[in-house]
């Protein structure tokens, strides 16, 4: 168990709802859910979630900490915002799902190797490096995330699409040499580091 996770367990004892309200983006909305199930029925990937948002909300209230944070359900969110606009209680469901996934990731409890968790990590690291996304490096990082051999297999499988995009001048092989970036990338690094520090301080990770 990660240190941050141990510390959270000790701090919140059996009150997982309180933990979510304090530490998860828009978590204070969870108690407003009236269990109507519109979110579950509106989700494009709904059939693939082990637990729909409606169930996740009930599980949080029931204190099922381990089951919620280790679930791969939140990682099925495509950010389509259907649930947000349809929720009769106006819960920002998409944000709560993102917040739960991030919290589980931060505590080291999110499922290992979950593909969306992996690409989310690669995407952020890619953009944080230079301030802008390098699409070529991001794609390559994704294909090679499960090792070299699998990476080559992925590349071969996707070569038709890659060549098509290159021909259309929408994928530039020269991006491998660096590509687009912000001038003030150092300022961006410092700014992001500061934002993390403030968030950790505010959420009491350090105490």
């Amino acid at each position: 168990m990660s240190e941050q996770n141990q510390q959270a367990v000790a701090r919140y004892r059996n009150n997982f709802l309180k933990e979510v309200e304090d530490r998860v983006e828009d978590g204070e909305w969870v108690k407003m859910c009236m269990q109507c199930g519109v979110c579950a029925g509106s989700c494009p990937f709904g059939p693939h979630w082990e637990h729909s948002p409606q169930k996740i909300f009930m599980m949080i209230r029931a204190g099922k900490r381990e089951e919620v944070l280790a679930s791969d359900s939140m990682w099925m969110c495509t950010s389509c915002y259907n649930c947000i606009v349809r929720c009769p209680r106006k819960l920002p469901i998409t944000h709560i799902m993102h917040g739960l996934a991030h919290y589980a990731h931060r505590l080291g409890m999110a499922p290992k190797g979950q593909p969306t968790r992996e690409i989310a990590r690669l995407f952020w690291n890619n953009l944080a490096k230079t301030g802008r996304v390098n699409e070529l490096k991001f794609s390559l990082a994704m294909y090679f995330k499960d090792g070299f051999v699998q990476g080559i297999k992925n590349l071969l499988a996707m070569q038709g699409i890659g060549m098509g995009l290159m021909k259309a001048r929408r994928l530039n092989p020269m991006e491998i040499l660096g590509g687009h970036k912000c001038k003030d990338k150092d300022g961006i690094h410092k700014m992001i580091a500061k934002a993390r520090e403030i968030e950790e301080r505010k959420q009491g990770y350090a105490s």
Partner: protein
């Protein structure tokens, strides 16, 4: 004509050689004709898109967007920030609204922005180019410049998710927004009425991580366009465009379909209708060729 100035936030996919570089090309003639002056925000950065949540968390995401807002406020005062990418628009608008509503978040964001020598006062509004077209130019204004109506073209207006939810275009419904169909009519083409996948999700970033689940969505989107007699799909979203266009070959390979449905941007339709060339409309940037539109673009009137 006096031009209206906007602080332009192109976004990563609209850079040279990137996946929506042809979108970036295609808005030039459109903006020129409509008197829209886009002034690029100096040294803008990535918005984090939606998938940035996993590693980024709330405050770092707000802060990277606040940097763009602060740069616009400082360098292009009084101008609305405008983006053509729904993810950029959504992230920036969400940030502007959250910082406006919560004083503590604004203070924290500024504490972090200080590290990059910036400060955000909160005076900038974040808008989508489609909002500029619909609200500032208007449908009559868009129609006025049509010299080459796209007659005989039937097009499925695929709005997708993030141009439509959670903010959307004011006055439109989330379930059946009509502005894209109206834009199709404005340029003289026929919208495929009853196109039932108008606001279906293409899988977004999960097209990478969950290809089979996403390709099922894409199959529905393309199949319905065929069912409704459309010759091409038009969308306002860069990720929808890329996903729906480039994965058709994968779906064909895996499922034995014979999809070859072109997917273009509204700005490409408008540029062609305004007399722009094939190149000016970015029509040389497709994997599935929009032949009919290319023919019209190449035709002398």
């Amino acid at each position: 004509m006096t031009k209206k100035n906007y602080a332009f936030y192109p976004g990563c996919s609209s850079q040279k050689g990137a996946s929506a570089s042809n979108f970036a090309t295609s808005i030039e003639v459109m903006c020129e004709k409509l008197g829209i002056q886009l002034n690029e925000i100096p040294d803008w950065n990535c918005c984090g898109a939606s998938i940035g949540y996993g590693e980024g968390g709330l405050l770092p995401r707000l802060v990277i967007n606040a940097r763009n807002l602060a740069l616009a406020e400082q360098n292009l005062p009084g101008q609305d920030l405008v983006s053509g990418c729904p993810a950029c628009w959504l992230s920036t608008r969400e940030t502007a609204e959250k910082l406006h509503e919560f004083g503590d978040l604004m203070a924290e964001a500024n504490e972090a922005l200080k590290e990059a020598g910036l400060n955000f006062k909160g005076t900038v509004r974040a808008r989508h180019i489609v909002e500029v077209l619909v609200e500032d130019v208007g449908f009559a204004g868009m129609k006025q410049h049509v010299v080459k109506p796209l007659e005989g073209l039937k097009i499925a207006g695929y709005v997708g998710c993030q141009t439509n939810r959670p903010f959307g275009i004011a006055g439109e419904s989330f379930e059946n927004p009509m502005y894209l169909d109206k834009m199709i009519e404005t340029v003289g083409a026929e919208p495929a009425s009853g196109y039932d996948q108008k606001v279906t999700c293409c899988g977004g970033a999960l097209a990478f991580s969950e290809p089979d689940k996403s390709q099922k969505q894409i199959r529905d989107i393309v199949e319905s366009a065929y069912d409704h007699g459309a010759e091409m799909i038009v969308t306002p979203c860069q990720l929808c465009q890329a996903n729906v266009e480039i994965y058709q070959s994968e779906i064909n390979k895996k499922q034995g379909t014979k999809f070859a449905m072109p997917v273009v941007y509204y700005s490409q339709l408008m540029t062609v209708a305004y007399g722009g060339s094939l190149k000016q409309a970015g029509l040389d940037g497709h994997v599935i060729q929009p032949e009919k539109l290319k023919q019209i673009a190449s035709r002398q009137k």
